[in-house]
C-alpha cells in the first residue's frame, strides 16, 4: 500500500479542535466534516487539498479531544497519510481504527516542507521526498495494526475475524 501527494505542513500540537471545530460536531457526516477540515488553523486547506495529499506536522499531532470526527474529516478531505514527529495517543488509535494511515518519523518531518511531493510505502515504512530526493525510514506498523489498516478499519477487521 502506498500514498503519494503534495504536502501540507503544520507545526507542534495541532489539536482536534482546529482539525474539526466542535461547532461542526452537530454533524457526523464525513463529507460535511471534510468541508471544515483544518478550518481554524488553515482556511486555505479545504480549497487546495487534492485526493492523495499528505499532512506533515511536528510533535503531538491530534492532541485534545477524542473526537473521531478529526481523522474522519482528514480522510474524507482526501488526505492519504499523516506524517508527524509524534501523535497524541487517542488520535493515533482513531486514525488506525478508521483506516487513515499515519506514520511517526521525526527525521522525515525535519526534511519535508510545504508543497513537497512525498511518497510513502506503508509495507516498508519508507518515506520518499521526491522534491528533495531524500528518503527516510518511518516506524512500520506492528503486524496487528497493519491488518487493521489493510481491512480499512477496526470494524472490518473484527468482522473478518468472525
Amino acid at each position: 500500500m502506498k500514498a503519494n501527494g503534495t504536502v501540507f505542513r503544520y507545526g507542534d500540537n495541532v489539536d482536534t479542535d482546529v482539525i474539526i471545530p466542535a461547532r461542526y460536531l452537530n454533524s457526523s457526516d464525513p463529507a460535511e466534516l471534510a468541508t471544515h477540515c483544518m478550518e481554524d488553523i488553515d482556511q486555505e486547506f479545504v480549497k487546495k487539498v487534492q485526493k492523495g495529499d499528505i499532512i506533515v506536522a511536528d510533535k503531538n499531532f491530534g492532541c485534545g479531544s477524542s473526537r473521531e470526527h478529526a481523522p474522519i474529516a482528514i480522510k474524507a478531505a482526501g488526505v492519504s497519510c499523516v506524517i508527524a514527529e509524534t501523535f497524541a495517543r487517542i488520535f493515533y488509535r482513531n486514525a488506525i481504527n478508521i483506516g487513515l494511515p499515519i506514520i511517526e518519523c521525526p527525521e522525515a518531518v525535519k526534511g519535508i516542507e510545504a508543497g513537497d511531493q512525498v511518497e510513502v510505502d506503508f509495507d516498508s515504512g519508507m518515506i520518499y521526498n521526491r522534491t528533495r530526493s531524500t528518503q527516510y525510514k518511518g516506524q512500520a506498523f506492528p503486524e496487528f495494526m497493519q491488518k487493521i489498516i489493510a481491512a480499512e478499519g477496526l470494524i472490518n477487521y473484527i468482522n473478518n475475524k468472525q
Partner: protein, 420 residues
C-alpha cells in the same frame, strides 16, 4: 521487574500474570461510555458489524451531555439516535435530560466506576476515574463501537511517570492548580502514551473532588491515564456511591518508572494557563499586567463538582460580578445542582450577578451557553484553551481554578481571591 498500578490492572483484565510496557494486549472491559457527539458515530459503526446487540447492557453508559438540552436540530437528531439505540438495546445506564449530568462527574456519583475497573469512554476526559484507582482512558467512536459489541479493547501497555506529592495544599490552592502546575512542568505531550501515577503522603489531604480534577486533566499532558492509590477516602467515596465490588491494586515496590517528579503541595500557588495551550502556566503572582476579561465559566467535567461550587460561592458571597462581565456557573450533575441549592450556593451566585445553568458541557468546547466573540477573553475552570475552543478563533481562554475564576469575575480581570 515489577509492575506499575496501571500495568497490574491491565494484566488482570487481560488474564495475564504479567505485562510490560509496550506489550499489546486485549483486555476485558468493565464499562464502555459514550456521549451525544461520539455515540452516534459509534452506533453507525456498530450497524456495520456482524455482531448483533451489545455485550452487556449493564456495562454501557450513554450520557448525552455535550449539546444537551439539544442546542439545535442536528444535535437533537444525534440525541434521538442515542436515545433510540439505548431503548432498542435496553441499556441500563442511559441518562436522559433530568437525570443526566456531565459524564465524568455523573458516573462516579452513580457508582458506575470503582477501583480496579478497566473503562473506555469515547471522550478524552474518561481518564477522570483514575481518581478512584480504576484504569480509564479516552478512545474514539470506533473503539467504543467495538467495546460495546465485544466487551473488549486492545491496548499497548503504557510505561509510567510517577508524581510524588508531598505536603498539603494552602488555602485557595486546589487540585486544578496541582494539575496545571504539573502540565506547565512537563508540557502538553510530557506524558505522551504514558500513565501518570500520583503517589505520596500529600495525597491524603487531597479531597476526592481534587483528585477527580487532577486525573481528569492527565490527557492535557498527553497521558493515557492518571491514577491514584486507593486510600480510605477513596474507599469511603465508593461505599457511599456504589454497590459494586471494587478491587484494590498497588504498584510493586520494584515497578519501573520512565521518570519521577516530586511536587511539594505547600509551595503551590493559584495557577493560570494562558492561551493557547494548557502548558502556558503562570502563578497568580507572576501575572503583573491587568488582563481584562469578558466572561467567566465555572463548571465542566474538570471543575463543576460540589467543592468547586462551594469555593466559588465562598469568593462570590457578598460580592458582585464586575459590571459588563458574564459569569456562568454550571453544576455538573443534577445531584450537585440540588445540593448546591440546599446549601444556598445558587442564591449566592445569582445575588452576585452570575447565572446558573442546567448541567451541560456547552461552553467548554464552544458548543453553546457562552460562546466567545472575536477578541473576547474568558477565565474558565474548564480544561482546554486551544485556538477557537470556546468560540471565535481570536478569542482567548485562561484556564484556572474555581477560586481564581470567581475572583476574576469580581475583579473584571484575572485575579486571585487574596487580591480582592
Amino acid at each position: 521487574m515489577g509492575m506499575t498500578m496501571t500495568q497490574k490492572i491491565l494484566a488482570a483484565a487481560a488474564g495475564l500474570d504479567k505485562v510490560e510496557a509496550g506489550q499489546l494486549i486485549e483486555a476485558n472491559l468493565d464499562l464502555v461510555l459514550g456521549n451525544d457527539i461520539t455515540s452516534p458515530v459509534a452506533i453507525k459503526e456498530m450497524d456495520k458489524m456482524k455482531v448483533q446487540g451489545v455485550f452487556d447492557r449493564d456495562k454501557i453508559a450513554l450520557v448525552p451531555d455535550h449539546f444537551v438540552p439539544n442546542k439545535d436540530i442536528k444535535s437533537a437528531e444525534h440525541c434521538k439516535c442515542v436515545r433510540e439505540f439505548a431503548r432498542k438495546n435496553e441499556i441500563t445506564n442511559y441518562f436522559e435530560v433530568g437525570e443526566m449530568g456531565i459524564e465524568h462527574a455523573l458516573l462516579p456519583e452513580r457508582g458506575l466506576t470503582v477501583a480496579g475497573d478497566v473503562i473506555i469512554g469515547a471522550d478524552s476526559h474518561t481518564c477522570t476515574y483514575g481518581a478512584l484507582g480504576a484504569f480509564s482512558t479516552g478512545v474514539g467512536s470506533t473503539d467504543m463501537a467495538a467495546g460495546m459489541a465485544t466487551g473488549k479493547a486492545w491496548f499497548k501497555v503504557p510505561g509510567a511517570i510517577r508524581f510524588n506529592l508531598t505536603g498539603r495544599l494552602p488555602k485557595w490552592v486546589s487540585g486544578k492548580d496541582v494539575i496545571l502546575h504539573i502540565i506547565g512542568m512537563i508540557g502538553v505531550d510530557g506524558a505522551l502514551y504514558k500513565s501518570m501515577e500520583f503517589v505520596g503522603e500529600g495525597i491524603a489531604s487531597l479531597s476526592m473532588d481534587d483528585r477527580f480534577t487532577i486525573a481528569n486533566m492527565a490527557i492535557e499532558a498527553g497521558g493515557k491515564n492518571g491514577i491514584f492509590p486507593v486510600d480510605e477516602k477513596a474507599v469511603s467515596y465508593m461505599k457511599e456511591h456504589s454497590a459494586r465490588p471494587y478491587k484494590i491494586y498497588e504498584a510493586d515496590a520494584d515497578a519501573v518508572y520512565d521518570q519521577e517528579y516530586t511536587v511539594d503541595l505547600n509551595t503551590l500557588r493559584p495557577t493560570v494557563a494562558f492561551p493557547h495551550l494548557p502548558e502556558n502556566t503562570h502563578t497568580i503572582d507572576e501575572i503583573r499586567e491587568d488582563i481584562v476579561i469578558d466572561q467567566v465559566v465555572i463548571g465542566s467535567c474538570t471543575n463543576g463538582r460540589l467543592e468547586d461550587l462551594r469555593t466559588a460561592a465562598e469568593v462570590l458571597k457578598g460580592r458582585h460580578v464586575q459590571k459588563g462581565m458574564r459569569c456562568i456557573v454550571i453544576p455538573a450533575t443534577q445531584a450537585i445542582y440540588m445540593q448546591a441549592m440546599e446549601e444556598g450556593l445558587l442564591k449566592i451566585f445569582i445575588e452576585a450577578g452570575a447565572i446558573v445553568s442546567t448541567p451541560t458541557c456547552g461552553p467548554c468546547l464552544g458548543g453553546y451557553m457562552g460562546i466567545l466573540a472575536e477578541g473576547e477573553r474568558c477565565v474558565s475552570t474548564t480544561n482546554r484553551n486551544f485556538v477557537g475552543r470556546m468560540g471565535h478563533v481570536t478569542s482567548e481562554i485562561y484556564l484556572a481554578s474555581p477560586a481564581v475564576a470567581a475572583a476574576s469575575a469580581v475583579a473584571g480581570k484575572i485575579a486571585g481571591p487574596e487580591q480582592l
